[in-house]
Amino acid sequence: MKMMIEDSFLEEILNITLLSLKVSGSAVLIGSLIGVPIGMILGLGRFRGKQSFMRFIDVTLRSFVNTFMGLPPVVVGLVVYLLLTSLGPFGPLRLLYTPTAMIITQLMMVVPIITGVTMSAVGSVEKAIREKALSLGATDGQAAWMVLREARMGVLTAITVAFGAAVSEVGGIMITGGNIRWVTRTLTTAVVVEVELGNFALAISLGVILLSMAFAINLALTIIQLKGARW
């Protein structure tokens, strides 16, 4: 009897952990595909041309990115909830309280983070590297490519930061996922529930798993950064 409880207990913890990884991992993966190119374009200052219209777009986009980098997850959750609720515009898609809804929520959070950090990473090396490459005879295109190459560690940082923010986020996915056991319960939302129920042992073990996961991923990325000086 005791074995069975332990088995299902472990199984649930595994389910919760994998869902956390799946939701945050997917959000960061998709977010990178969107945010990294936008961040690179903004960082390269390609809009900073002579035309005032392009400059306007550049300034507007930058301000947007910077504002949304600090967006409170609960606000994002609320907005996504209103969009997906059965009376909302995307209601018919029946996505509310599914992992997809949670991915969408976290995606909206991580895209500005990835874009912003990539933008500043590219921007910080942009002038020196571009001019250096140009002076060595590179074309504008070759110089831009070199800037991106030199900013690669910054891009990795952007992705790390975004994953850290996503996996520890709780307010947004609580609203759009609903914290349904076996379906949309993640490490963070589970901790909230278990604390409310007084199951501190479980809450603590979930917290430890969350911390270990964050540590493992940061460790891996740090190793890549140290080794990455060579590629």
């Binding site: 020196a128 250096k132 002076s135 060595l136 504008d140």
Partner: protein, 358 residues
């Protein structure tokens, strides 16, 4: 009319940054194979000028010519002209890749065949004495090594014109001499024309064929080093790092010379006649240093102790405390023969005629 006799020529260059004038009517020409030094204090406009010559920045007005071609700053094809020019920046920027790949970059962007790239990069690394460094990451190098890589990057594509922005600022003497050697070698062997910004007067004197003095965005003087620095102005003394500059009160002596009291009980005799407050200098090369007192015609003789030694390769600079601090330059050989060390007791002597007013 285009003057074909110049390799690169600037005509009436002006550059303004939001109303602030960085360059005003700068005109000069550099002949093929010539080393031309731009000297001036920080903020004089040296870097701006070099950036304009390298097409990194457009002048507000004025033109730059490379032989009969006028630089077109709005052209989409600036790299074609830029590929005839090499540039070494004051702030060393290297790419996060191996030393070999860093140097190879200039050739790769030009689409040079891989085999030739390998050969050229290796011989270039040989020249800057970094042959064994080719597999190291460039970001792990010391400042001097990094600047030598930067020099190799610029030189490997064999530019006909090399722009250098304070190439040896902040380098130790050994690296300075390697860089200077490479520059002399390239200028001699490949007849590379060079425009070099520097505020190192010794370097300008040793390497450059001609010198332009740039101050507040204007060229003040242009010509050979000797003719410009025969009579340095106060402004020149300030940035030229004239050493042994002293001020004091001068009075006429019975012999028709001047005795200048510079404080700390130190009196310097000068051949000029001037009364009142004066500022003067003595060239470090003009001071004779000995380990015993000299009986000589030199009117100025002081006893002091060495407080600092800097090895500049073939010569050694010593700071000697003799009431005031004097900088003395002697050859490495004399330095070794006299077995000098910090705190060695030494005697300084220089003639009254070697005391120059500013």
């Amino acid at each position: 009319m285009v003057k074909v006799s110049f390799h690169i020529e600037a005509r009436n260059l002006c550059k303004e940054y939001s109303g602030k004038k960085a360059l005003t009517n700068v005109s000069f020409g550099v002949k093929r194979g010539e080393i031309f030094a731009l000297i001036g204090p920080n903020g004089a406009g040296k870097t701006t000028l070099l950036r304009i010559l390298d097409l990194l920045e457009a002048p507000s007005s004025g033109t730059v010519w490379i032989e009969e071609t006028q630089l077109d700053y709005s052209s989409r094809d600036r790299q074609t002209l830029r590929r005839r020019i090499g540039m070494v920046f004051q702030q060393t920027v290297l790419f996060n890749m191996s030393v070999f790949d860093n140097v190879a970059y200039s050739l790769k962007v030009r689409g040079v065949n891989k085999k030739i790239v390998g050969k050229k990069v290796k011989s270039m690394l040989e020249l800057v004495q970094l042959r064994s460094f080719e597999h190291r990451n460039a970001l792990a190098l010391s400042g001097g090594e990094a600047q030598r890589v930067a020099l190799a990057q610029a030189l490997v594509a064999e530019p006909e014109l090399l722009l250098l922005d304070e190439p040896t600022a902040n380098l130790d003497p050994r690296n300075v001499s390697i860089v200077e050697e490479v520059l002399s070698h390239v200028n001699r062997e490949d007849k590379t024309t060079m425009v070099m910004a520097t505020h190192n007067m010794v370097q300008a004197e040793n390497i450059a064929h001609r010198v332009a003095v740039l101050n507040e965005g204007k060229i003040e003087k242009i010509g050979e080093f000797q003719e410009i620095f025969e009579k340095p102005s106060r402004f020149l003394a300030d940035f030229a790092r004239l050493e042994n500059v002293f001020s004091g009160v001068s009075r006429a002596s019975a012999e028709g010379t001047s005795i200048i009291d510079v404080g700390n009980g130190l009196q310097v005799e000068a051949a000029f006649k001037k009364v009142g407050n004066v500022t003067f200098y003595v060239c470090p090369e003009d001071i004779i240093l000995s380990i015993r007192p000299l009986v000589s015609s030199a009117r100025n003789a002081f006893e002091g102790r060495i407080v600092q030694i800097s090895d500049l390769g073939s010569v050694v600079k010593l700071k000697v405390r003799a009431g005031k601090d004097f900088i003395v330059q002697i050859t490495k050989r004399s330095f070794n023969e006299m077995a000098l060390n910090v705190d060695s007791k030494v005697f300084l002597a220089f003639k009254a005629s070697q005391v120059q007013t500013i």
